[in-house]
Amino acid sequence: MTITDRAYAKAAPRVNIWTARELLWAWTTRTIRARYKQSILGGLWAIIQPAARAVILTIIFTRFIQIDTGNTPYIVFSYVAMVPWMFFSSALTDMVESLVHNMNLVTKIFFPREILPVAALLARFLDFAIAAVLLVVLMLLYRLPVLTVSLVYLPIVFLLQFALTLGLGLAGAAINVFYRDISHLFTFAIQILFYATPIIYPVSRVPESYQALYFLNPMAAIIEAYRSILLYQTPPDITLYASIPVVLLILILGYWIFKRLEAFFADVI
């Protein structure tokens, strides 16, 4: 193996995220274990957070301000969106910080750098799965059908969300190494995006003239798709397919940025 200035980028992929999958797994489980060490409720926090939010929103939007969600109880309506949203926002926040938080490792040991952000994403997947269990419980409680044919679309929607988070997270993590503004920017952008995504209100309340702009946000289409599949037993809207090229572009761009900057992490972090 030869490392020269030019050949460096070519030499590095000899170890990639696949050859280092054991490390990816070890780092993911480390992140999860560490998160709930010395805590009494542990993994339950993955449910408590989205559930508490859904409860508060339910109080606000059924008692204070009426939002019409048709036949669907508001708590199910909002919780079904809250679960994937929390996955998106918490994974993204963790990913952006993943390299800087583990500065010690980045400057001391060589390993495929993608491990850190990807493990941060995978570690939040567990929270997502735990929170999803409560969704099933809620749906059963309100006697909504759980096992339906439309569930076949679920993997597509999930993969799309995963790819979007991955792309944004990789780019964010890499640039955050250079400029810490990125983590502030992401926190802020995620807050804004929360309101620009149909989580607390139905998409039907978005004025016609805003819709084209509205669905430029891929999360809008993704959340809406979760809702159609899980609550209305209908295939996802055309807007989901329209967001596929956007998501792919973000993923490719994010990965490219990460790979380009990777070699400089240890020097500038």
């Binding site: 490392i3 020269t4 200035d5 560490a34 400057t107 040991i109 070699a263 240890a266």
Partner: protein, 407 residues
């Protein structure tokens, strides 16, 4: 034989200053602006290490030693130059990097092992060895944040030393841990080397370098100023340190501030070196041989019969020998302004293996003040002594004679 590591014209440059790092050049991969303020952490370094060989990299702080290890382990990329690495390596740049304080010793063994490039199955096979070597058996299921710093370091070293690498990079880790553990570390490194592992040790601990390494590389301000046997390298390192200290001598007093003031520089010691009986300059001295300490002295003023003194100490300051021309009742000439003298001080050195420092000074005939003095003017290395511990070879001879039982 193919070298385990071959390094050619290696150089690494860092930006200076606290400005935000520019991100665009990283994308374009073009040359940075030449107006930028740079520091060459490593500049044009060449070396190779063969399997089973141990190279010690020594040098003062900031000489670029750790940067070399980071370049070798691919943590950072070189600005220019080439590194050929042949085999799997394990780098011990920081003990227990990646340890999570909240996780237990057991969990961290797996995590750190995998980070260092082991497979899970390999760790399982060596798990007992790792724990045994680190000596943490009872605390295996305790979070490592409760460990003493010694236990933490021992576990870190133990994991890295069991990766079974073809190349092992070790940075300053032997400073941690007690004596018993250091002995264990040396034994482990010897064991790895006998199996063909190439070892690169970065250290300030000259004893460790001498004990473990065959060869040394002396780094000073980013450049490799010397390469040779580890004994010679240790001397070259001391020389470099002395040189730097001498440059700073006028600005920074060394001993309580006052001693410095006493130096008048009416007479200046221009050069000090060690010579053998064949007239060759040496820094490695076979035990028991006769050497000449040569001083080249120039006087700026007329000076009456100055006293010339020298002292030999061990690196930890223990005095081996000190004497002056006065004590030797040796007449010294009067120096006339502008004259230079070469003084040869002949000595027998029946010393035991190790490193020794030589200090010289020249003072006024009434002992009132120094004209010039150089602490640790040079270091030399005694080799080929008899097997004994201590400083001086007392020329032991042992006889056995049968005798009548003692009443």
């Amino acid at each position: 034989m193919q070298p385990a590591i071959l390094v050619k014209n290696l150089a690494k440059r860092y930006r200076l200053g606290g400005k935000l790092p520019p991100i665009w050049p990283m994308f374009r991969r073009d040359e940075d602006k030449p107006s930028e303020n740079y520091h060459w952490a490593v500049n044009d370094v060449n070396f190779e290490v063969n399997p089973g060989e141990a190279l010690g990299i020594i040098g003062p702080n900031g000489a670029g030693k750790t940067t070399i290890l980071k370049l070798l382990s691919k943590v950072t990329r070189p600005t220019s130059g080439q590194i050929h690495v042949n085999g799997r390596f394990s780098a011990l740049i920081e003990l227990g990097a990646g340890f999570h304080p909240d996780l237990t010793g057991r969990e961290n063994v797996y995590l750190n092992g995998i980070i260092l490039g082991m497979k899970r199955t390999e760790i399982e096979q060596r798990f007992d060895q790792i724990v045994e070597f680190a000596g943490i058996g009872r605390y295996l299921d305790t979070p490592v944040k409760r460990y003493s710093s010694g236990m933490y370091a021992r576990l870190g070293f133990s994991i890295a030393a069991h990766v079974d690498p073809d190349i092992l990079l070790v940075d300053e880790v032997l400073a941690v841990g007690d004596y018993a553990f250091q002995v264990k570390c040396h034994a482990r490194m010897d064991e790895l080397r006998s199996r063909g592992t190439a070892l690169i040790l970065v250290s300030h601990n000259m004893d460790a370098v001498r004990r473990v390494c065959d060869r040394g590389l002396v780094m000073y301000r980013g450049e490799a100023i010397f390469q040779g046997s580890s004994a010679e390298s240790v001397v070259a390192y001391s020389d470099a340190i002395r040189e730097a200290a001498r440059d700073a001598q006028n600005a920074v007093p060394t001993e309580g501030g006052l001693a410095q003031r006493v130096m008048t520089f009416d007479v200046e010691i221009k050069n000090v070196f060690l010579m053998n009986e064949n007239g060759e300059r040496i820094s490695v001295v076979p035990s028991g041989s006769r050497v000449f300490v040569v001083l080249e002295i120039c006087s700026a003023k007329d000076v009456h019969s100055p006293i010339i003194a020298l002292a030999i100490r061990t690196p930890d300051g223990q005095r081996v020998y000190a004497s002056t021309t006065k004590w030797l009742e040796q007449e010294t000439p009067d120096f006339v302004a502008g004259e230079c003298w070469r003084v040869e001080y002949a000595l027998d050195l029946p010393l035991l293996n190790g490193s020794y420092d030589l200090s010289v000074n020249i003072g006024s005939s009434d002992f009132k003040h120094y004209y010039d003095r150089i602490e640790n003017a040079l270091s030399f290395e005694i080799v080929n002594s008899v097997n004994a511990k201590g400083i001086v070879d007392l020329d032991a001879e042992v006889n056995f004679r049968k005798m009548e039982p003692v009443q």
